[in-house]
């Protein structure tokens, strides 16, 4: 019987073609139901209870005319609290109020009924001491935010800049600059906020929390006043002014 090579070659070719074919489609598994929620935190600056406008001229507690030109700050170790404990929401957040407010959105928040918030005004020491190069673009600690003190390998926690005129009834533009930047680990200050009612975070949905920052109160507390005539500059040194400003800023936050 004569050997016909087609008896081997044809099936082999068929197998080869099948072997090169695309994989069979696999039915995608349905995504698991979300177990965490999303929190949108709105930072809303105010002045005497009304919406604050950057670069507007206001009269402050000393009746100096002030024009605030920049507010940037960090909140670290942001947690939601209730009677049973707390949950870490975000290790670090950066707020830039140049557009009269700022909003951050955090996913992965533990569902629950929360009545309070705790945070640190500034950058926690472990993050403050880390190498800023490791943070990708868009990260709160990215160098591009312009909030890093390169001479001290540390972050500026609070940048509060503007101009003032001691004459509260004057009409000329305020020209004297104030520039107060707090930072270094000494200025990190923890605080708690009563949310004034419960905020409910549910799995798979977004909850919104609005925090007011009373910019007018950044100049004073119940027992102290930042007098721009003599206290208008701090950049790492001048710690007493930096701490005074930190105290004022921390008590300027509230939730309606």
């Amino acid at each position: 019987m004569e050997f016909d090579p087609r008896t081997i070659l044809v099936p082999l070719m068929f197998l080869t073609l099948v072997g090169c074919g695309p994989d069979e489609p696999v039915e995608p598994e349905p995504p698991p139901a979300p177990s965490t929620g999303t929190l949108k935190l709105v930072m809303r600056p105010t002045w005497n209870g009304a919406p604050f406008v950057m670069n507007e001229i206001y009269n402050n507690v000393n009746d100096y005319r002030v024009k605030v030109e920049g507010i940037k700050f960090y909140l670290g170790d942001v947690r939601l609290l209730n009677g049973s404990g707390n949950t870490l929401v975000k290790d670090i957040a950066f707020f830039d109020l140049r557009y009269n407010g700022d909003t951050v959105t955090w996913t992965g928040v533990q569902p629950g009924i929360w009545s309070g918030l705790s945070a640190g005004f500034g950058v926690p020491q472990a993050l403050n001491d880390a190498d800023p190069i490791v943070y990708p673009p868009g990260h709160p600690l990215d160098l591009a935010n312009g909030s890093y003190w390169t001479w001290a390998t540390a972050y500026r926690f609070f940048q509060f800049d503007g101009r003032y005129d001691l004459d509260g009834s004057g009409t000329a533009p305020p020209t004297a600059p104030f520039s107060m930047h707090t930072g270094l680990n000494a200025c990190y200050q923890e605080f708690n906020l009563d949310l004034g009612g419960d905020i409910v975070v549910t799995a798979g949905s977004t909850s919104t929390l609005v925090i007011d920052m009373a910019v007018d109160k950044v100049f004073y507390t119940a027992t102290d006043t930042v007098d721009l005539a003599t206290e208008n500059q701090t950049h790492g040194t001048n710690l007493p002014v930096a701490l005074e400003l930190t105290n004022c800023a921390v008590q300027s936050f509230s939730v309606e």
Binding site: D4, P5, R6, L9, V10, L12, M13, T16, L17, C20, D129, D131, P132, I133, V134, L143, A144, Y148, T150, W151, A152, T153, L184, A186, G236, T237, L239
Partner: protein, 337 residues
Amino acid sequence: MKTWTIAILLLVMLGACRKDPVIVQEEVDGPFLLALPLGAPSPLIPENNPLTVASVTLGKALFFDPRLSRDGTISCASCHFPDRAFSDTVALSRGVDGLTGMRNAPSLGNVVYHTAMFRDGGVDDLERQVIAPVEDPVEMDHSLQGAVDAVANDLEYQRKSQLAYGRPLDAFVITRAIASYERTLISGWSRYDRYMYGGELPALNESEVRGLALFNSELLNCTACHNGFDLSDHSYQNIGQYLTYADPGRERISLDPGDAGKFKVPSLRNVAMTGPYMHDGAMATLEEVVDHFASGGQPHPNRSPLLTNFALSAEERTDLIAFLNALTDERSLDQVP
């Protein structure tokens, strides 16, 4: 005939499914062999940034590259001159647009042995130190990302970046590479070293030997701070240069008023070529420096208790300065090809 056509087709198909032969001639990076002079301690090199041929040669190229500055005019070497032991020649270092900096740029010799950078010790390591001059508005006045963008298309930089760090040139690579190059700037090849560590007694002349004895004497007490291989303990001292300091010095970092006017003790290596002296370059000559210490300085509240005034004869003053001149390296600090 048809059968053979099918067979050939099959062979072609099988051949097409085979992996192409790949001939890769991979470039390989290797460790950089740091030359250490006699008496030099083994430097601590961070495990996450080892010295390699690619990292230090890339770092050297970046160190001399003015594209890292905002207007492309200022490089690290603009204030750290290689022929001045990587120090500056002017009292206050100049940045872009001729702007005057805050301090006199110090020598980078033996910076590998420093545990904190800058005259106030504000930065903990060389990698993060690199960021400061790039972003300082009176130095390079750039953003680090802007500096990256300015050089990222350089093919040679890209090649070395991949070799050394396995990633494209970015801020991580720039800071690591320049730090690596700076770690190679070892100083320790002076006549003093030949005398001290090499046992070559003729390396110093009689005047210099007398100067060394004065330097080591209790009367002058120089070695209270200027000791060890780097001739500095890298502590922070107020030397009574002023009654009121315009520059807070170490206080800027520690926020402790007790640190006002304190600055890191500089190495005395190559001191003859690192003037002008002090944090603000206020003293032009070694004679001025010696006279300052002989006077004991101004009675600033933070003045170091290690400072004691002393009197030197003209000959002793000459001898002491002759010894200081013998601390100049006889070869370049730069050992990167």
